[in-house]
């Protein structure tokens, strides 16, 4: 696989080193002279000096081939947005992965069609929320390798899901309902299953996405 990485800070450097260790072809672009020199010492010709938002710098790095993936990993979100847009729209790169430094900027990445994005802050926050016990939500099983977990929630009265069919809920891709337990009897959750307050619902989801589930199934926060 051929990967171009824009930004050789901590994230860019470690991704470069890891990909090279896995036998991939990598070019990393860094515009800070000092940082570039230490990258060049470690990665030799795989390090390039320049601004990764300049078209000729990207072209010198080989973006015209094009690479399989471009990783926009600078410390500036506006730079990462432009690197990703150039990669996808100007050079037809199939996949651009962008680092989001300030989680408030994630809306801009969504707006401009840049996905997936990676935000260290958001991930840490998701894990913190994951550790905070929520009494309405019981963690039953963690599938660490699969990065999934199974939880149980009781549908609150007046919750958005109360009285709705599952297919009406427009669940995100990171979340599925497994079964419904009502008056001691369990049934498999299907699109036409109607949910009611008091139902015990088993759900499978990505760790950290509990909030999406709670918003739908628990009573409104107000």
């Amino acid at each position: 696989m051929f990967v171009i990485i824009g930004g050789g800070g901590k994230v860019g450097t470690n991704v470069t080193r890891t990909l090279l260790g896995l036998g991939h072809e990598v070019v990393v672009i860094e515009q800070n002279r000092l940082r570039y020199e230490s990258l060049e010492e470690e990665f030799q010709h795989r390090a390039r000096y320049g601004d990764a938002t300049e078209l000729h710098v990207l072209e010198d790095a080989g973006i015209g081939r094009p690479p399989d993936i471009v990783v926009a990993a600078t410390g500036d979100d506006e730079d990462n947005l432009v690197i990703s847009q150039l990669a996808q729209e100007r050079y037809g790169v199939a996949k651009a992965v962008a680092r989001v430094n300030d989680p408030r900027n994630e809306v801009h990445f969504d707006l401009l069609g840049i996905s997936p994005t990676v935000s260290a802050t958001s991930m840490v926050m998701a894990l913190i929320q994951h550790e905070v016990p929520q009494h309405e939500l019981v963690h039953l099983l963690e599938l660490r390798k699969e990065n999934l977990e199974i939880v149980e929630v009781e549908i609150g009265s007046g919750a958005p899901a109360d009285g709705k069919r599952i297919e009406e809920l427009r669940l995100p891709d990171t979340l599925r309902l497994i079964s419904i337990m009502r008056e001691g009897a369990a049934e498999i959750a299907v699109g036409s299953t109607e949910l009611h307050a008091g139902d015990q619902v088993l759900a499978i989801l990505e760790p950290g996405k509990e909030e999406d589930l709670c918003e739908l199934l628990l009573a409104g926060k107000g």
Partner: protein, 137 residues
């Protein structure tokens, strides 16, 4: 008739004053308090301290009902992103961005916002000047 000027350096602050003098209601935005100095002590318009990518600040400046947004910070990429946000997210009718790099200016042309490229303008003007050079006899 409301305009927002994001980035109040020499260009942005001058333009904010021109807009105000032509009867526009102007909200100026800059990351630095120093921009206020360039706008003048008696700047009668709004001033918002913050980064152009900050949607909360843009909304406080009234971007939802602005007729025009001019983005002229010293960062090409900031200008490129804020102009797209103004156009696509807030559907501002008239949006202009300053982009120094001619290559990026060209790539982002025809996306519903206007681009002013001082570098290209300088190249064009100097190219015209070159054609008029008279050599020594």
């Amino acid at each position: 008739m409301k305009a927002i000027v994001v980035g109040c350096g020499r260009v942005g602050s001058a333009l904010a004053k021109v807009l105000h003098a032509s009867g526009w209601e102007v909200a100026a935005v800059d990351e630095s308090e120093e921009a206020l100095r360039r706008l003048g002590e008696r700047w009668p318009g709004e001033f918002h301290l913050g980064h152009g990518m900050d949607t909360a600040m843009l909304e406080a400046a009234g971007i939802q009902d602005a007729d025009a947004v001019v983005v002229a910070t010293d960062g090409d990429n900031t200008n490129i992103v804020v102009a797209q946000v103004a156009k696509l997210r807030y559907e501002v009718p008239s949006v202009a961005a300053r982009i120094h790099d001619p290559a990026r200016a060209k790539f982002y042309a025809n996306r519903g916002f206007d681009i002013v490229s001082p570098t290209s303008a300088a190249i064009d003007q100097l190219t015209e000047w070159v054609s008029g050079i008279e050599v020594r006899a």
